[in-house]
């Protein structure tokens, strides 16, 4: 066991930190939900970050570290699926990639070149035309949301590949959630450190100190579970990571908004960028009960209900 980053991972982290600087603050005049950056996407594409999971010295663990790091930014792009799911399919899949789960709206659907279509137990791949999809610009989820309006041809994946998609979607969800949780906790720590009421920073009240400390404990736990799952590729680890991510996010989102007061309800503070991304991820793959069933199946040897 070695919990420190190795030289390759440190190099990736250093490069990403540098890249992140340009995307680290939201524009003052931005008062919306989906803060997407095509420039960020281009940079990641050009520097071949979407390939790192396939590079032997890097692997999915480095990709998960990258996903976590980038998820802390106010700007977003279609990152997690391309970095963590695509490399595990033996198919040339053009990106952006989006998931349509049981017909629901999904992230990046309107711009996707590849759709992962999940319908009950079956998983297939489709390549939509612009006529097949529609953007949902009024969504509160802080991703560009879209839905499927047409019926593009769906090529079903064999069971083994379908399972791989589910597993790596879980890892992707957990890694992205780890970064979102961290960003939300960081923003809240900053807020309660400066916001004063009753003559003192509200972060000096123990009711809030304990609450934010608990949020930090959950956040770090999600990160470790996500990284371990990316490292092992094990279905049980993936399910545990996604479950802990969705479960922790459910609690942390509520707490950070409470601690941020009305300011957290505005589109000025950026908190919603992270919390409403998390809210989008909370329902993936059946939400907590879906992940719990996967844990039961893979860790407790129960048959899938």
């Amino acid at each position: 066991m070695d919990f420190a980053l190795n030289d390759d991972q440190l190099a990736v982290e250093g490069a990403l930190d540098k890249l992140a600087e340009r995307f680290a603050t939201s524009p003052v005049d931005f008062h919306g939900f989906a803060l997407v950056s095509q420039e960020l996407d281009n940079e990641l594409e050009e520097s071949q970050y979407f390939e790192i999971a396939a590079i032997p010295e890097m692997g999915p663990l480095s990709a998960a570290l990258a996903v976590e790091r980038l998820a802390r930014l106010p700007y977003t792009a279609e990152i997690a699926l391309s970095m963590l799911v695509r490399p595990h399919l033996d198919l040339e899949l053009p990106r952006p990639i989006a998931v349509i789960e049981n017909g629901r709206p999904g992230r990046y659907v309107a711009s996707a070149k590849t759709l992962i279509v999940i319908d009950g137990d079956s998983v297939g791949i489709a390549h939509p035309t612009p006529d097949d999809v529609e953007a949902l610009p009024d969504s509160l989820f802080a991703y560009p949301m879209g839905r499927l309006t047409g019926s593009p041809e769906v090529t079903p994946l064999p069971a083994e590949q379908a399972e791989a998609v589910r597993n790596w979607m879980r890892v992707a969800c957990a890694a992205e959630m780890a970064g979102l949780l961290q960003a939300a906790v960081d923003a809240t720590v900053e807020h309660i450190s400066v916001r004063k009421q009753f003559g003192r920073p509200i972060g000096t009240f123990q009711a809030l100190r304990h609450r934010i400390a608990e949020c930090a404990v959950l956040t770090g736990g999600v990160r470790w579970l996500a990284l371990k799952a990316a490292w092992s590729g094990d279905a049980g680890d993936a399910a545990l990571a996604a479950l802990h991510a969705q479960d922790s996010a459910t609690r942390v989102i509520y707490d950070v908004h409470q601690m941020s007061g009305a300011m957290g309800m505005t589109l000025e503070m950026d908190l919603h960028l992270w919390t409403y991304r998390m809210k989008a991820l909370i329902s993936e793959l059946g939400g907590r009960s879906g992940q719990a069933q996967a844990v039961a199946q893979h860790c407790f040897g129960a048959s899938a209900a």
Binding site: A4, L5, N6, L61, V185, R209, W224, H244, Q291, A292
Partner: protein, 378 residues
């Protein structure tokens, strides 16, 4: 970053498992109830002797003291396996984890020669005399006095919640030699010294675990003092940094959960709702496990964990709570004695957020030291 065990670590774990299997008696689950029952304490002495002979009691200690300088991972793997088996070392885990190493760092030569070899042979039980009726979390407010009278110290006062005091040979005692935090000193006090009275405190945790210890004009020579007068806070800080992730509670919690799940599956009561609760508890156990490993990794690299240790401790409290609540709700007969090992976990698990530093104190430390929030006004 790498989550794999080395082959040395794996074979060490296998050898510990084998040892446990070969050395625990058939009726172990009836002995393991209550962490410090008379039977368990008696067994622990015999068991630790055998462990010592097999080189498995203190492998992480220096060769000079009977170890083989194994790294902290080895000590932790050992602790995981022991804890999962119901801690057959009894109170001696404290010697192994922190009392021995603390004496190596701060003890006089005479103290080291007197106390360390018997620990390394598994012959001796210590107790930790810190908490007092008025000083729990606020340990620095302790009042037990050690007054200098001629060439001895005369000790008066009371300790409480002292684990293993009924069986202990020696007490690692904190007593006040002057005012303030800097006025606390440590004494290595043989429990047979005249003036010491030990009273068992009946508790949920089981027979023989916690005690009151009274000190009435107990006299010890200066040579019983560990370190300098007033050095206790520094020494204890160091000692507790060894102790803070000392107990791999997550290991027993996760084994208990797995046992409970198997039981429920065998009787067809593991439906989706139950499975969801079990899955959440399992995830919490694994989060606590990784936190603990990350701190052991730091220790193996010579870094003394700071506030991360509190983060890991709190993660452990969460997992202990979820597992113990799961058993109470779904295998309630365990609490009435139907499954002694589940009961033994319950009795150990419920104190996770209290013993050796309450959960809320960990949260205070996380807020101040880890998140660096402005401090609470005093």
């Amino acid at each position: 970053m790498d989550f794999a065990w080395t082959s040395e670590q794996e074979s060490f774990r296998a050898s510990v498992r084998q040892f446990i299997q070969d050395n625990l008696p058939d009726n172990w689950e009836h002995i393991a109830h209550g962490p410090a029952s008379k039977e368990q304490s008696a067994f622990a002495k015999q068991f630790c002797g055998a462990l010592a002979e097999a080189g498995l009691l203190v492998p992480h200690w220096p060769e000079r003291w009977g170890g083989r300088d194994a790294d902290p991972w080895i000590a932790f793997i050992l602790a995981e396996e022991m804890w999962m088996a119901g801690e057959p070392r009894g109170g001696q885990y404290m010697n192994v984890n922190w009392i021995g190493p603390t004496l190596m760092l701060f003890g006089s030569e005479a103290q080291q020669e007197r106390y360390i070899p018997p620990m390394a042979r598994g012959e001796t039980i210590w107790c930790q005399g810190f908490s007092e009726p008025e000083s729990g979390s606020d340990l620095a407010s302790l009042r037990t006095r050690a007054e200098r009278v001629g060439d001895v110290y005369r000790i008066n006062g009371q300790k409480i919640w002292t684990s293993y005091a009924g069986d202990a040979d020696t007490c690692f005692l904190l007593a006040r030699t002057s005012q303030g935090k800097g006025g606390i000193s440590i004494f290595l006090l043989p429990m047979t010294t005249p003036g010491i009275t030990v009273r068992d405190i009946p508790s949920i945790i089981g027979e023989g675990d916690i005690h009151e210890v009274f000190f009435d004009d107990v006299e010890v020579p200066e040579s019983a003092r560990l370190g300098e007068e007033g050095q206790a806070w520094e020494i204890v800080g160091k000692a507790l940094s060894l102790e803070r992730v000392g107990i791999p509670r997550f290991a027993l919690a996760s084994k208990t959960l797995a046992d409970a799940v198997k039981l429920l599956q065998s009787r067809g009561s593991f439906g989706p709702g139950v499975a969801e609760q079990a899955a959440k508890a399992h995830a919490a156990c694994e989060a606590a496990r990784l936190y603990s490993y990350s701190i052991i990794d730091q220790r193996a690299k010579g870094i003394i964990a700071g506030a991360e240790a509190s983060v890991g401790r709190f993660a452990t409290v969460i997992c202990e709570r979820l597992v113990s609540e799961f058993v109470v709700e779904h295998v309630p007969e365990a609490i009435s004695g139907a499954h002694p090992l589940l009961l033994a976990h319950h009795q150990r698990g419920i104190v996770a957020g209290i013993a050796s530093g309450a959960a809320e104190i960990q949260l205070n430390l996380i807020a101040t030291q880890f998140l660096e929030l402005p401090r609470e006004p005093r």
